[in-house]
Amino acid sequence: MSLFTLSRILGAGYLLGDATVSKTKIRRIAFGFFIVYASAVIWPVTTWFREAEPFVFGLPQSLAWPIVWILLGWAMLLVLDHFENKGE
């Protein structure tokens, strides 16, 4: 859900030449994102991904799950950094 909102806001930002996405807004989004991140990798959300199967690119799902979040976190940091450096 939050990912959907996130992509919508970011998408809109790009379409409108980034002008609509203020630093404050992107910081709030990033803050919210990392709260979601924290909840996703601990109990109870992680219990839905605790099994080894299905395998994802040969890796057990239980291992793939935290890796997915590292990649998402990286993406979020890149986006945040992009907007933070606007106009500097």
């Binding site: 990033a30 080894a52 239980s62 590292i70 976190g73 990286w74 940091l77």
Partner: protein, 490 residues
Amino acid sequence: MDQWLVITAMIVAYLVLTLWVGLRAGRRASATVDGFVAGDRNFGFLVMYFVTGATVFSAFAFLGGPGWAYSRGAAAFYILAYGVLGMAPWYVIGPKAARIGRRFGQVTQAQFLTGRFQSRGLSVVIALISIAALIPYITVQMRGAGIVIEAVTDGRVPLWAGAAVAYGIVLVYVLVSGVSAVGWTNTMQGVFMIVIAWSLGLYLPYALYGGVGPMFEAIQSQRPELLELPGLTATGAPWSWAGYSSAILISAVGITMWPHLFMKAFTARDERIIRRTVVWFPTFQLFLVPVFLIGFAGVLFVDALPRPDFILPHLILNVDLPVIVIGLFCAGALSASMSTGDALIHATASVAVEDGLRPFVRLNEQQQRLMIRILIVVFGAVAYFFAVADGVSLVVLLLTSYGIIAQLAPPVVAALFWRRATTAGVIAGLLAGGTTTLLCFFWPAIKPISMHEGLYGLMVHVPVLVLVSWLTTAQDDAHVEAYIHPPATQ
């Protein structure tokens, strides 16, 4: 030529290279405390990136990581889960701390905190916490280096000698070049570690099982309990979700509060570099994946290793690898150990002098640097003593120290973001949180559920900080403003 001779030659070559890089690094640093402890605040992006990454990935990651995956399975994944989560707040906190540090000439965490919460007592408490948490950490790194050298030379170079040689070299370059040596050697060692971890992490599953996928399928059919979260405890019983989740949370809170990491905010040339370091940190975090693959590769090939930390050396020596690969592995493991160890030793001595001694004794620049150098030798010797003695309880101590170090997070956050925080509140919170953590550690029976003791500490810490702050007189507005909205300098 004997295999062990070739390997020893490669280790020697690696150590000489490290020494050369470390000694060269200091040539440009100024002969000041700022130069020795904060690298004249002139670290660029590449060095900052590797300092952050290599400091976090220690001998524990390189030797302990595979050991955890091998013996505790999915429990090891908690290490993957917390890194990025813990580093993200640094994007905001790091540059802000750097800005304040530059303005007030701070080089340590305690100086930063006592700048806002003026108290010599607080300075000493933080110095003591730091030293108590850092010494076991250094010890673990030294043992790691000793273990690797002993294993690959078939015991011809015993643990005590291996650790002495590796850390003798660390001592020399840190003494001569200070934090600049830490920065440049970590850059070299970081590259080594990444290359070696990825090559071994992909090579071993391929050599033993025919690929990563087939390896996990084989483990799934024979030892499925290893691949299911939250994994196992050290004794092989299933780990609790409370234990797994709270380990993630407390590590995420604690990671940037380690003095040797926090202090690096003061070494960056500008704030932009700190931000970029955080943005690229996840690439270092992914380096743990091959490390776990190495551990899993051992599951069906090595049975019941009495000391799981030896899994990596053991596997390497029993899989019939080309001798050059074994030599490279050693260099990688030594890199992991030394790149963390040097930063730790340097930070411990700097903190002891700057925060423990200087608030009470008047020292000029030259005396400060001399004292730091003397204490580098002293703390190195203390850690070495523990390293060659038996170190079983040290790992436990290290995990607990994360709980104590995490108690530094509320004061840091309060210093930067909460106007109403007072010195009394911060000290009361720190004492309450620290005491709770220790109580829960020594009497686990008082914990309602099996969460990490540091999390209980934080649960007591934060309310006490808030309450006592409210009950005491607010700080002067102008004083607070310098921390809440630090003006940009230069």
